[in-house]
Amino acid sequence: MISINNLHANVEDKNILKGLNLEIKPGEVHAIMGPNGAGKSTLGNVLAGRDGYEVTAGSVTLNGKDILEMEPEERAREGLFLAFQYPVEIPGVSNLEFLKASVDAVRAHQGKPALDSVQFLKLAREKCKAVNLDQSFLKRGVNEGFSGGEKKRNELMQMMLLEPSLCILDETDSGLDIDALQVVAEGVNAMRDANRSFIVVTHYQRLLDYIVPDYVHVLANGRIVKSGGKELALELEEKGYGWLESADNGAA
């Protein structure tokens, strides 16, 4: 699915990712945990191709294709989806227009037939219902005045409409109460299948009670310093990150 090899990346000339390796197979869910400033959000932004996130070494292939030279929209069309930690508000552009433009672009690239307005509206309404958002949200400006939970559900709705092969959830649990968290987790779980992979970036073990990962990695100081099964998350919850960071520094 995705192979990340020796990835180094700078943000504003500061070296954030320092040789990150990660191999994810179809259908797997990988959780990435780590302390503040470890590079967790940078990883999502680098993979999605955001301006200002400069890759200085290493490679990333998605389904066998080198994506590092691609524009963000090409990566999205190739099946990469980043659910934002802070989804952007775009007043004046309706959610429905935005979603349609997005789905049209991705489907066209993937050679799927275009949906007409009526078909699309029907589909969008179904997905609204699936994430427990009122249909009036389709008419409002993109994320405009949405609460934190509504924004995250809107991200999830986009994910459902685009059917990506790799979903990166960037601290999707931040700012969510337990009910909203369950809705989002159920949505994600419903999308899990043998061909779709997930990178779940989170600060807290709590999310992983609901989205149970196959693997857990600890990102510290720009590298993955420890990997394990889902039980690693519990160990981190108990012990914190300190013991790993000092181990890493010792190794370096």
Binding site: A48, V88, G92, E97, A101, V106, V118, G141
Partner: protein, 456 residues
């Protein structure tokens, strides 16, 4: 160059003015215009707005009959807006498309009955004169020129407590002629106490390169507790030269709600002057300017708070593309007596290229001590994080730019009280940003599919 233009316009004005009812106004106008000097770069109110393209023109009177083409017909209907209308082509009334004269509230100066003539004598030029009294420089020589030349015009008089159900559309269209020509158009609207109406003033043309100079002057007299919703839409082809002024007089507890749109031409200058003359009046003024190519578009607004307890909310937004230049000068003048004034002014601008320019200047001039005023102006480029968000969803950079630009303007369209007018404007503006149709299609899809009216 300026002298020649000045002399030529004066001669044309003297030739044109021949309505005895307006003789005094004409004479005063001719005198004032003859005495006025043509603005140059050192004239503060015209500092960033060069009149070069105007002053180098050699203008005649329009030919007596212009061809009425399908393109003009389409422009005139304003997207089949349901409205009684008057349509002028190069200054002449088009009888076929003009049905508003059937309304008792609408007439031409040349067809006015005795009572209407009395109203014209009383009010024409009176609102404009208030601007001169304000000493703010917001009355200029083109207003004098209009007074000098006015021969005919539109009078709309809405009587006490009358309410016009449909918007009134007044369209001033131009089409190119063999010789460059100049026009002075005039509109006077009077709302008696308690009256309510919607006025859509519309300046447009066919798509051919225009060689017209339009000097338009609108005076709006809004009586006690009366309410006017005004749209002033400039949709001319970009070679048209346009200088337009809107002067508003607000009586007690009256309301002026307005939306001014300028697409941009080689030269467009708009002055909007609102006089709060009695307590309780409210001005809700919004506007959009979106020049492109090498266009020059100038909005000068001036809100005169002369008395206590009046309110103003003014919001203008502009998007400059290519090598276009825009000027926004928003003045709010609070006179010493105007205590308890509430006034807000916001001007936000987007520059889409490195070569586009905006000169924005909010001016609050406050001489009263118990008032609440705020103003703000911003100039920015499209937001990086919004661009990235859209691109990360597979939307191309170009389409994202179009959608974000449109969204910036659409926020003001969404606030318009007349959804049918907003619906006419949306496709027009979306296509303006998405020059390639594939880029604006998602913005228009809901409209064309008829989904926008459906309850989601």
């Amino acid at each position: 160059m300026a002298e020649q233009f000045h002399a030529q316009q004066l001669a044309l004005a003297s030739e044109q003015a021949r309505n005895p009812l307006l003789a005094a106004l004409n004479a005063a106008g001719q005198q004032a215009f003859a005495a006025a000097s043509v603005p140059n770069r050192k004239t503060e109110a015209w500092k960033y707005t060069s009149l070069h393209n105007l002053l180098t023109g050699d203008f005649q009177r329009p030919a007596s009959q212009s061809e009425f083409t399908a393109a003009l017909r389409e422009a005139a209907t304003l997207g089949n807006l349901k409205a009684p209308r008057l349509v002028f082509v190069n200054g002449q009334l088009n009888n076929e498309l003009s049905d508003a004269l059937a309304l008792e509230q609408v007439t031409l100066f040349s067809q006015a009955n005795a009572a209407q003539q009395a109203l014209i004598s009383q009010h024409l030029g009176s609102v404009l004169a208030q601007a001169a009294d304000n000493q703010s420089g917001s009355a200029h020589l083109f207003n004098d020129l209009n007074n000098a030349a006015v021969n005919d015009g539109v009078l709309i008089h809405v009587g006490k407590n009358q309410r016009l159900e449909q918007p009134l559309q007044i369209s001033w269209l131009t089409t190119a002629e063999a010789q460059p020509f100049s026009l002075n158009s005039r509109l006077l609207m009077i709302l008696d106490s308690g009256a309510e109406a919607t006025l859509a003033e519309h300046y447009a043309s066919d798509e051919q390169p225009q060689n017209s100079f339009t000097n338009a002057l609108t005076e709006l007299v809004i009586g006690d507790n009366a309410r006017l919703q005004h749209y002033r839409l400039q949709l001319m082809q970009e070679d048209a030269l346009h200088i337009g002024s809107t002067h508003v007089a607000l009586a007690r507890d009256s309301q002026y709600n307005a939306f001014h749109l300028g697409l941009g031409t080689r030269l467009t200058r708009n002055d909007i002057v609102v006089n709060h003359n009695a307590g309780g009046s409210h001005c809700e003024l919004s506007g959009v300017y979106i020049p492109q190519n090498q266009q020059l578009l100038d909005f000068h607004t001036c809100i005169e708070h002369k008395v206590p307890h009046c309110t103003t909310n003014e919001v203008f937004r502009g998007i400059m593309n290519d090598k276009a230049r825009a000027v926004f000068n928003g003045r709010i003048h609070i006179h010493p007596q105007a205590q308890k004034t509430l006034a807000e002014l916001s001007n936000k601008n987007l520059l889409l290229t490195n070569t586009a320019e905006i000169y924005t200047k909010p001016e609050l001039e406050i001489y009263a001590d118990d008032v609440k005023c705020a103003h703000g102006a911003t100039v920015a480029q499209l937001e990086e994080k919004a661009m990235f968000y859209m691109q990360s969803r597979g939307i191309s950079k170009k389409e994202a730019e179009v959608m974000l630009s449109f969204g910036f303007i659409n926020e003001l369209l969404e606030a318009l009280p007349d959804e049918d007018i907003a619906q006419v404007l949306r496709p027009l503006l979306a296509r303006r940003f998405g020059r390639d149709q594939s880029l604006s299609r998602h913005l228009l899809e809901n409209e064309t599919a008829g989904l926008s009216g459906e309850n989601a």
